[in-house]
């Protein structure tokens, strides 16, 4: 039996070691091929950044990274390569907090960046590190309806009618969908003059009309667009335009009288950039998001540029007369989260059984 133990140990250790070698070899090999194809000379001068972002920004950052690489080469003479990561905003924040080495995060919510901060990776004060609360571009919540608006939906109060079926992602599983809920709340608050009971009733009715509560924004869009469910989709403006781009003859966008200013936050991940020595590049990367060139790229990808002059250039795309409340009207994210989205919060109460 004791002799066998050695055999056992050998038999166990060999495949495990072999596997880990295989995998690490694979990793280095693929890394090598990546940089080979990128460029062959002055490898030492090449800077690499990892940008951990959320889902619908894929096109935006594909275009922006190209523009930024050009800008960076002109400015510093160095090549830069940016690795993108996209996923649900909250999940992405969790991964960074758990050791995903991101130089910068560009997420959907300030609240998600704060989670990275809580893990000790980002220093306090990041919110004022870049202009406009570190949100280079914004969006808002709009309605996507079927062409010709057959159900005559113009504003939030149309959504509580009995004949309306709503599609929206779940604010519990999709960070971005929290804006949807807050936008409706802002409208009701104004309508009922801050009478919270009536506001709650309104919200309850609205969510009572929700046919499918998808886990994410993209899933909700699929339910509405591909599977033809419901009469109205509550969506981020940029995502609504993406759907419209694919099928311009089938849908139209309705902008409600009141909505919320959705501010996707960006931040440098301090611990990672200090360790990798990429702080200068990472800060330049986020700063350049505010340049005229980048602001136009953002506009072209249906995000609202924060530079007012450039926003006006997109006046024919966006409804600029919309009345936008901000998260500060809810007392900031911490307060809004505690009141609405925490366990047993107002959002849960909508679905409480009587």
């Amino acid at each position: 039996m004791k002799k066998n133990l050695y055999k056992i140990a050998a038999a166990v250790i060999t495949p495990v070691i072999a596997a880990s070698f295989l995998s690490s070899c694979g990793a280095t090999a693929s890394a090598a091929t990546n940089s080979d194809t990128g460029e062959k000379n002055e490898k030492a001068e090449k800077v690499t950044l990892t940008n951990v972002s959320y889902d619908p920004t894929r096109e935006l950052y594909a275009a922006y990274n190209e523009a930024f690489a050009k800008h960076y080469k002109e400015k510093t003479g160095k090549d830069i390569e940016i690795t993108q990561s996209h996923g649900g905003s909250g999940k992405q924040a969790l991964e960074v907090a758990n050791g995903l080495e991101a130089d910068v995060v560009t997420l959907a919510l300030e609240y998600d960046v704060k989670e990275v901060q809580k893990a000790g990776l980002i220093q306090e004060g990041w919110l004022s590190e870049f202009p406009n609360d570190s949100a280079p571009y914004t969006s808002t919540i709009v309605f996507l309806v079927r062409k010709g608006n057959p159900k005559n939906i113009h504003d939030w109060d149309d959504l509580i009618r009995d004949d309306i079926g709503i599609i929206t992602p779940n604010s519990k599983t999709s960070g971005g969908a929290r804006w949807n809920y807050l936008a409706a709340w802002a409208y009701a608050q104004k309508l009922y003059n801050n009478d919270e009971e009536q506001v709650k009733d309104f919200i309850k009715k609205l969510f009572g009309n929700v046919l499918v509560l998808d886990s994410g924004a993209r899933g909700a869009t699929t339910t509405f667009v591909e599977n033809g469910q419901g009469d109205v989709l509550l969506a981020w403006e940029n995502e609504a335009y993406l759907s419209l781009k694919d099928a311009p003859d089938e849908y139209e966008i309705v902008t409600p009288s009141i909505s919320i200013l959705a501010q996707p936050s960006v931040a440098v991940v301090d611990e990672v950039v200090d360790e990798r020595g990429t702080r200068e590049a990472a800060e330049e990367y986020l700063n350049y998001l505010y340049s005229d060139e980048a602001q136009r790229i953002e506009g072209n990808n249906y995000y609202r540029p924060t530079n007012p002059d450039i926003l006006k250039e997109f006046g024919d795309v966006f409804d600029l007369n919309i009345n936008l409340v901000t998260i500060n009207d809810f007392g900031g994210w911490d307060e809004a989260f505690a009141k609405h989205f925490a366990d047993g919060g107002l959002f849960d109460q909508i679905y409480e059984k009587e």
Partner: protein
Amino acid sequence: MASAAIPVPANAEKKSSGTAVKKSVVSRTASPNLIHEDSAAAKAVRYFLIGISVLFIFVMMFLPLATVIKEALKQGWAAYKAAVTDDYTKSAIWLTIEATISALAINTVFGLFAAWAVTKFHFKGKKILTTLIDVPITVSPIIAGLIFVLVFGRQSVIYPYLKQAGIQIVYAVPGVILATVFVTFPFISRELIPVLEAQGTDEEEAAALMGANGWTIFTKVTFPHIKWAFLYGVVLCTARAMGEFGAVSVLSGHLRGKTNTLPLYVEVLFQGFEWVPAFAVSSILVIMAVVILVARNIFEHNAKTKSGGV
């Protein structure tokens, strides 16, 4: 139990291919049509069973597959080709293959040893052991990913040491492989155990009594019985490893071109409102799966026709 006493020559695998527990050495032929009576009732049953099988497969497998193909080609060949020849797609294909092969290697070693241990011996705690082997299948993939993040991630006790040693497990290729191994862990052993169980231990005992060593018994007596089950296990494991999404998604970090497997890349495309490319990339997975399944079929068919005349 007279059969145990009949010495079975270790190399006479063909003669022993009938199950020994039944004291019969007449093996079934390759023809799948075993029962030769052709009463009307038998025919009716037969057509009924074939009918519902075909219907089931048509609805559950063929229609979803057709949907994938339809959506992938929605914008024509050019768009399809652009999506599948993209550099990020290629790197995702390589990572998927790498993870699949690693999972297959590790799980084959495990599966063979585990099946042998569980079916050829009696020991305490056997039931718990077999249950534990199955657990990875029943663990929600998200949880499977989560547990590895808890063990190896930044919050873990061992993270500082790993970091010092320069080992990155979560959000790197090893994490992807680990997740794949975990979700496919029981697949091969699970295929082997029922067959070995049905077969019993008589032949091995006979061979061992005649002085054959473990390796000889395994290759000459046991393996011929389990080779088709083993093949099923390998194919099942491969298919599942290629398609795994949940656990890998938690552990990969979605670094494009670095840690994105094909299913993850499909998800990224889908969430990024790239409908057609998402389905085009999924079709690669489908094609890979079909190639493997067809290869298995041909291999199995050839082998069975060769040994069919016994």
